[in-house]
Symmetry: C2
């Protein structure tokens, strides 16, 4: 599967596709069409997550760093239990993320 | 670090940069300026490797699949002990790979 070309239609929800799963590791593609994280429901994950923006544009908020703008090629390590929210994603063309979940 | 913009100058050798290392996992950026694997020295790794082409163009040869052409967004899982060679990389602009080594 080409991660940039095999895109779902725009919907209300983000699109999550597992690319590879192994014990302690999951590689996921996320396609966002303008969706953001609700302000009252930040992510609070028990594992590290490394993200790489593949296309589009995004801004994240992390409780330890504040706002971070991402363009294609930018990567970011989100430590475990650092609350974070997606506060902007480019809708069209969509925003495409690679997420590596370090669940080990 | 932006994986697409922070590029080394073209050299004789490929450029390997560790992005993230954890027990059993290593995420690496590889920048190729036309380099290929010597025909008499294929890679033969004891671990799985997942690769994603971020920019440029490449062709791989794998002993179980033959030739595979990669364009940006294409990903490939290289099983452990499957011998493989890079047989083409675009030189200019350079070819940029993300490699996830599953060493666990």
């Amino acid at each position: 599967m080409n991660l940039l070309h095999s895109l779902p239609p725009a919907r209300n929800e983000e699109d999550f596709t597992d690319i590879l799963a192994r014990p302690g590791l999951r590689i996921e593609r996320i396609v966002s069409h303008g969706q953001v994280t609700p302000p009252d429901a930040p992510y609070d994950q028990s594992h590290e997550e490394w993200v790489l923006l593949l296309a589009g544009a995004a801004r994240l908020w992390l409780e330890d760093r504040g706002e971070v703008a991402l363009e294609p090629g930018d990567s970011l390590l989100i430590p475990a239990h650092v609350r974070h929210r997606v506060i902007y994603t480019q809708a069209d063309p969509p925003t495409i993320w690679l997420a590596v979940h370090l669940e080990g």
